[in-house]
């Protein structure tokens, strides 16, 4: 049976042959989209986190057939540049297996809260396990990303004003 959805902004069709096929398995095994990682297939680790119609979910627990007409965003399409940069700059990536899921969860958090405090960050990332970093550097990275995104937002209006004025000047 064919399931049509949007993945990272593009139309996608998956021909699913059993009703219980998970979105994770469709992304990786059927569509060759390997950004989303598979570690536990039981909702415990968060490495398979994607945005489904904007909400972070474990793609291993979503049946692909439930996604007909829905919008899926993976680490490829969900994560603003400053979040990725901050993870690298802060040493929040070691083996990297948890990283795609964490990036999606952080992107969602920062879209809702511009400058989250530590307890809010810990709560938002409670469903993403990392066995390498000890989490401290991940939390540093969230703060760094929040700061970078706030700076960007500050500069953006200034840039657009500048652009406007050059247009007006003949």
């Amino acid at each position: 049976m064919k399931v049509e959805m949007r993945i990272d902004g593009e139309a996608a069709v998956a021909d699913v042959d059993r009703p219980g096929e998970s979105l994770l398995s469709t992304l990786r095994d059927r569509l060759g989209l390997y950004g989303t990682k598979n570690a536990c297939e039981q909702g415990e680790c968060g490495s398979c986190t994607v945005l489904l119609d904007g909400d972070p979910v474990c793609s291993c627990l979503v049946a692909t057939a439930q996604c007909e007409g829905r919008e899926v965003k993976t680490v490829v399409g969900a994560v603003p540049r400053p979040v990725r940069d901050a993870f690298i700059a802060c040493g929040a990536v070691q083996c990297g297996f948890c990283t795609p899921g964490l990036l999606v969860s952080v992107a969602d958090l920062l879209a809702r809260e511009g400058d989250p405090r530590d307890p809010v960050i810990r709560e938002a990332l409670a469903g993403n396990l990392c066995r390498c970093t000890g989490y401290e550097k991940i939390i540093d990275a969230v703060h760094a990303a929040a700061e970078a995104m706030a700076d960007e937002a500050h500069r953006a209006p200034a840039r657009s004003r500048a652009a406007g004025s050059t247009e007006e000047t003949p």
């Binding site: 009703p19 297939e41 627990l61 049946a63 469903g127």
Partner: protein, 292 residues
């Protein structure tokens, strides 16, 4: 067109009537809401549904409404929305919903799935028991309402029959302070070692209790609920009273030893939680008087 044998293995009803008709016509179809219980079993090959029936497109199941003295919560409203939208009117249930899994699990998991799974450890159950909620169940044969205390029949068993769907949970609005306490090894992502909900009703002067993960089903504690509270002189509330309540709650539990904890530990923890919960609701209702 094609022969009836080619019926799609995945049904996506858009409304409740269609869902019930499909379920009656395809009894092999397993309903799926958030998938946070079912898909784990599917991924681990513990079950291999020949067909599934998606409940996430049914608007009636994904909405809640104000029914006067109660809130009628569609069985498919995810925990995240219960926390965000119902914390003021249903504080006990919202507190329990907040402890479920992780943000990813709360974004998908539903009360309907929690009830249908009927795990003794389900976090939704104690607050529903403490407040005396009703479960609304529908099939093509009609609709019935079951008090939550009569819903569970054994470990992972309930009164739900083939062809039936849980449509909503009717939870009385809080008429006083409520508490939910859950014992586990960390704050996030734990199945309760034991859990406890208490609801104090200031209008009817009644106490309600729900116990989780300490028996073959979630339990009530009728003897504990009947403890005499100093309603006319709230300041007379004291630790001895709170501890007696704790003892009665522990006595109502029917715990076993398992990987998460021993029966003795569960009873002990429940007694501590119950005394604490009662102190908290009483103090919240009557201010600092109770600390005298």
């Amino acid at each position: 067109m094609t022969a009836p044998a080619a019926a799609p293995p995945f049904h996506r009803p858009g409304d409740l009537g269609e869902a019930l008709r499909l379920l009656a016509a395809h009894p092999e179809a397993v309903p799926v809401a958030g998938g946070t219980d079912l898909m784990v079993a599917v991924n681990y090959r513990l079950t291999r549904p020949a067909a599934m029936l998606d409940l996430t497109r049914i608007g009636e199941l994904r909405a809640w409404s104000d029914a006067g003295d109660a809130i009628r919560i569609g069985s498919g409203v995810p925990y995240t929305r219960i926390v965000a939208e119902l914390a003021t009117v249903l504080p006990g249930l919202a507190a329990a919903a907040r402890t479920v899994g992780s943000p990813q699990i709360r974004n998908r998991g539903t009360l309907g799935g929690n009830l249908a799974t009927a795990s003794p450890a389900g976090d939704g159950h104690p607050p529903l028991l403490a407040t005396g909620a009703d479960i609304e169940i529908a099939s093509t044969r009609g609709t019935r309402t079951v008090p939550v205390a009569a819903f569970f029949t054994g470990p992972k068993r309930s009164v739900l029959q083939p062809g039936e769907l849980i449509t909503s949970v009717i939870v009385p609005k809080a008429a006083g302070p409520q508490q939910f306490l859950k014992v586990g090894t960390r704050n996030a992502m734990v199945i309760a070692v034991c859990s406890l909900a208490v609801a104090l009703d200031l209008e009817t002067r009644r106490l309600g209790t729900g116990i989780g993960s300490a028996g073959p089903t979630p339990l009530t504690a009728p003897e504990a609920d009947l403890i005499e509270l100093p309603w006319t002189r709230p300041g007379l509330f004291n630790d001895a009273l709170a501890e007696e309540f704790g003892r009665r709650v522990a006595a109502a539990a029917r715990p076993i030893d398992d990987v998460r904890g021993t029966a003795a530990y569960r009873r002990h923890a429940l007694a501590v939680c119950a005394a604490r919960a009662l102190r908290r609701v009483w103090t919240a209702a009557h201010g600092t008087e109770s600390t005298r």
